[in-house]
Symmetry: C2
Subunit: 673 residues, 2 copies
């Protein structure tokens, strides 16, 4: 079996009885009794049974106490927005669509379970992002690329798996407002190509319907080169035979799976085929698919993760960080309306710290999705604790200076949410962190990233701390209210660990935005020069004097891809924020940061601090022994043990490496090996 994470209704809040009345009856007005409404009702029944051992009766009139689903004509709610308000003893959910009722139902349950529902409650929520998506990198053989919580629950032995867990997964992600999911790895290989063929299409259709009950559109990753194996024997996007082939293919797919959201495509990247093979550009490739899918209302999500992965380390001018902008910015405005470019948060690849990709702000006439990664590929493999929402908040808040219009919100959040350019669409996607482990996410606490991503994608204004507090309360319920021997509320302790975890992780790993000091392939644990002489374009360029990649105007020129003040800031070593200085500039060990410390002393200090902080977190966690669920306590204890070993390796190796590099001693005389 598997846990229910933050929607475990057997996990009773402290004052659970206070809300029992709402679960006595359900009244539905204005909605057709479709599958989605039934699903919402089903969720209420499940909650009622778990929390109170009762079943809400469906009544024909507004009950004395209960919950009411009311169809609203308020256009400002849009397709997914809702209003929750309390009148007398009835909690009203008003929404224009049944999908919105699902979101509202889960929200109402969360308010109840965190004792946040009051007689005065009257909230209206409309999601900030049209698309709130999870990308699975699940392979048909059941493995998960960069998966740290077991194998796939979608695939096994080159076949699809549909069972009770599928529904529980849909519930879990719908409960935080996710409305799209791509179930297979963007690296579409072997059997996965057949997901759109007769062989698997019936099961794909069934899966789509399960997700649809929760208001979620299912997507597939597509093999761009597919027509090569068929009559056209080509994948040239300008070849009429290829276009015709895709048109027929899409017709065939949508006949079988009318509810499919569309496709995710990784082309011309890391060995994947793409339009470059035929001398065409990325817009040619995307638009061909978009044209074929358009009659069916589907969309094409096209990844911008295109770069040369056969770089020569000797080449100091070529810069992988430039690649996204170089390939895509000149195509701005050329993509079809039903194409959305999916852009990784940074110009490299999900490091613990990177600048925001200059494509945000560089593309002015193109739909954009922000891609983040909650699978902790470079942030501790769901062994190390790393609550990523504070980091995502910074990314969303980044001002791109896309235009001079004071009316438009040109932060990353504004661009992807459609507030920077009228008529645009977009959203947020996370490479997800789930697998078939009992607890879904390997480390119990890593579920806060899944929860947090959904909540943040729905409402980008939420504070990372508030999200973490919600998650903690829902997950540990009544136990969160207990007190440790020190008199600290258990929930506050967990919240404290979550909030400190990303800064701590950054401290003991790669300093000041340099990134990439990780073991090759695996990406867990330190290898300072692991990628230094490799072909991936990921270098630290350390020598006896300093380290960092010069990306200013005298270097690779990457800083010039930004707009206005950002361009100036990143071009000048004195103006670049400390935390990104080594990303942008070759910097001497003796350079004094804005913090007043030299680079080398910053490296020593942060590494010692980071390791100490991990030991403290590990110790703090032990205070929860006996207070929270034993399984969860043991799970996280074991992870902290491994994190402590990892942090020690990072601390000692990074400090030794740099001490050997420059010979400058630690001011505080701590042990460097």
């Amino acid at each position: 079996m598997w846990t229910q994470c933050w929607i475990d209704y057997s996990n009773l809040p402290k004052n659970s009885q206070a809300y029992a009345g709402y679960f006595s009856a359900l009244y539905v007005d204005g909605f057709k009794k479709d599958e989605v409404i039934s699903t919402a009702y089903g969720e209420l029944k499940k909650a009622a049974e778990g929390l109170y051992g009762c079943t809400p009766e469906v009544e024909l009139e507004v009950p004395e106490s209960g919950i009411a689903f009311i169809r609203s004509e308020d256009e400002s709610l849009g397709k997914e927005g809702y209003r929750i308000h309390v009148k007398d003893n009835v909690a009203f959910i008003e929404a224009a669509t049944s999908a919105a009722v699902i979101y509202a139902t889960f929200r109402l349950l969360a308010l109840i379970r965190t004792s946040a529902l009051t007689p005065d409650t009257d909230i209206t929520e409309v999601p900030d992002n049209p698309i709130r998506m999870l990308d699975h990198w699940d392979n048909m053989d059941g493995s998960i690329e960069r998966g740290y919580s077991g194998n796939s629950f979608f695939f096994e032995d080159n076949d699809l798996v549909i069972n009770e867990r599928t529904t529980d997964y849909a519930r879990l992600i719908a409960s935080v407002g996710i409305n799209a999911v791509a179930i297979n790895n963007v690296n579409v290989k072997d059997a996965a190509t057949d997901l759109v063929n007769d062989r698997f299409i019936a099961k794909v259709s069934r899966l789509t319907e399960i997700f649809a009950c929760y208001g979620i559109k299912m997507f597939l990753s597509l093999n761009y080169a597919m027509p090569i194996e068929y009559e056209p024997a080509s994948a040239d996007p300008l070849d009429p035979a290829v276009r015709e082939w895709w048109k027929h293919k899409m017709d065939e797919i949508y006949r079988a799976v009318p509810g499919l959201g569309g496709f995710l495509v990784k082309a011309d990247s890391e060995g994947r085929p793409g339009p470059f093979t035929y001398g065409r550009n990325q817009a040619d490739g995307a638009n061909m698919l978009a044209e074929a899918i358009k009659p069916h209302g589907g969309i094409i999500i096209w990844r911008c993760f295109v770069y040369n992965c056969q770089q020569d380390w000797r080449d100091l001018k070529t810069d992988r960080a430039r690649a996204g902008y170089d390939y895509f910015s000149s195509l701005d405005g050329e993509f079809a309306d039903n194409v959305i470019l999916q852009i990784k948060n940074g110009p490299m690849d999900f490091q613990p710290r990177e600048p925001v990709s200059p494509l945000f702000g560089g593309l002015r006439k193109t739909n954009q999705i922000l891609e983040v990664q909650i699978a902790q590929e470079y942030t501790g493999h769901q062994i190390d604790l790393c609550y990523l929402i504070p980091w995502f908040k910074q990314i969303l808040a980044f001002e791109t200076y896309m235009n001079n219009d004071p009316e438009s919100d040109t932060t990353v959040a504004g661009i992807i949410g459609g507030r920077a350019r009228k008529g645009s669409t977009g959203g947020m996607v996370a490479v997800t962190n789930t697998g078939n482990d009992e607890n879904w996410t390997g480390n119990d606490l890593a579920a806060a990233n899944l929860y947090g991503f959904g909540r943040l994608a729905w409402d980008t204004s939420l504070a990372a701390e508030d999200i973490a507090r919600e998650w903690t309360s829902l997950t540990y319920a009544g136990d969160a209210e207990k007190q440790t021997a020190d008199g600290e509320r258990a929930g506050d302790l967990i919240l404290r660990l979550l909030m400190g975890s990303w800064p701590t992780y950054e401290k003991y790993t790669a300093p000041l935005g340099i990134g990439w000091m990780v073991k090759v392939h695996d990406h867990y644990g330190p290898s300072v020069e692991g990628y230094e002489y490799d072909r991936w374009g990921t270098y630290i360029r350390a020598d006896w004097e300093g380290l960092g990649v010069e990306r200013g105007p005298e270097g690779t020129g990457f800083a010039l891809q930004y707009n206005g003040p950002n361009k100036e800031m990143f071009s000048d070593i004195e103006k670049t924020p400390d935390e990104l200085i080594l990303f942008f500039h070759k910097t001497k060990y003796t350079h004094v940061l804005h913090s007043g410390k030299t680079v080398i002393q910053h490296i020593y200090d942060t590494h010692f601090e980071g390791y100490d902080e991990v030991l403290k977190m590990q110790k703090d966690w032990q205070k929860l022994k006996g207070l929270i669920d034993e399984r969860s306590f043991a799970n996280v204890s074991e992870r902290f043990e491994r994190q402590a070993a990892n942090a020690r390796e990072w601390c000692d190796i990074v400090n030794s490496y740099f001490h050997r590099r420059c010979g400058i001693d630690d001011e505080k005389g701590r042990t460097i090996y």
Copy 2:
């Protein structure tokens, strides 16, 4: 099909007709007509047919022209020695045993095929080493640990393979005097444990018989922990039940396989079980097996490759180089007579340059085998050309100062050949370089190492160049006599490439004896700090000032494990030979070597030179186009292409790494990235 390497009788020497007469008849006197004599006759027939299209007739009297096998009573020939002399038109082979006739027959054929047999020929050869062995690291699944020439020809799908290739392999190695072979990996896992059980024992026996026809004893690698799975449920060497179990086991094995030579054991090393588990020492373990096998005349070859492979890189005192001596020297004299310790040439692990292991000279009352590796694990994976015999010659010539007896030969060669201590036995073993590739050794030229190892183990006084010349003449036969456009004899060109190859390989890889700058696990290609913070005890300790491991009296004290003048030499940085300075001493980049160069300039110079030399070798090889066999030409051309790419990586990465380390420019201003 597969090639016949240096015993390809279809490959005619230039003046092949001169020796036709010897193949008209065979006369045998004094020998029983056993299988070994039949095998020798079979080889003569095969040669006669290939070279001359005729068949020697067996005659009852000494023929007018032909070959005669004469049983000799000359005790100085021992069991394996022989005399070859020519009288009138008959080539006489005199030997005391039929096994010796095999060696002599192959020798005679080699003399004939290289036109070295004359009417005056009268040579007596007695092997320098009692044991001349090849160790296969072949796994039962067909893979070969550190195999660079295809899969195993002994194993496939967890079963033994016996076919025509088995016989050809026996011929090939007997032709250079090999008399022992261990067919399975020293890391005995899975099915390989069953090689001594009912499941496979019949096939093992058949294989043993095939080798016996060529005078070769077959050995197996043994799983020391085997009795754990049976009644004693222990592998404690002092437990009477375990001793009894082994006694019965050996009885059972030898009933089925009476010709088995004995067993090779890797215990307490790299995760293998051993006597340490029970608080016993290595002698306890080896002697238990020796006692059980003694009634059957078998021997136990016990590897000294015992070290802690979970070392902490932070620990500057623990030194893997010390481990062999530390574990074994105190046990000197405690091993049974039928135990031989197998000692790797250096204290680390088959690097292109290491000092000789101090166990040679440290053990005075123990049988010893020198273990070298012709599988090019750290010397280019049989992609890069690296003729290792010049290196082995240096190892054999190393004076150990084992005692003060001027009569005894206390070089490594003297110790293993039994000339340092009366009554001792020993020999040489190579971890072999063959697989089921068409040409046996991946790179055609890598066969020179197999040939050379056998010849050198037989006669340690042979010059590396003479061995290479022989191999070239036998392998390329008549083609070796052709001339390139420059007027160079093809054979001389190949000889030149072979002889220069190890020095070249050393130049472009790890400098001055430091070793280990290789990619982790794979061991091909550079990764300067690949092992620096790992658990294997293999560090280079480079910093901004210098590099090297201090192993003198102020360091780990490893240098003190040597005797007399060696101890003094290696303890003192000024006396340590240049080529080992970084093995023994933490040395500044600005330290001036005996060569007059600084360490850093030496690094730059040798790396540029090494790469240039590879390009020259590659170019030189092209001069053979059209002169030699097309397959062989293409095979080596392709390897040189890969070697050139590898050498460029090594040159550029090592030079860049050290330039970045110290900031000292190349005196000659060449490009360092």
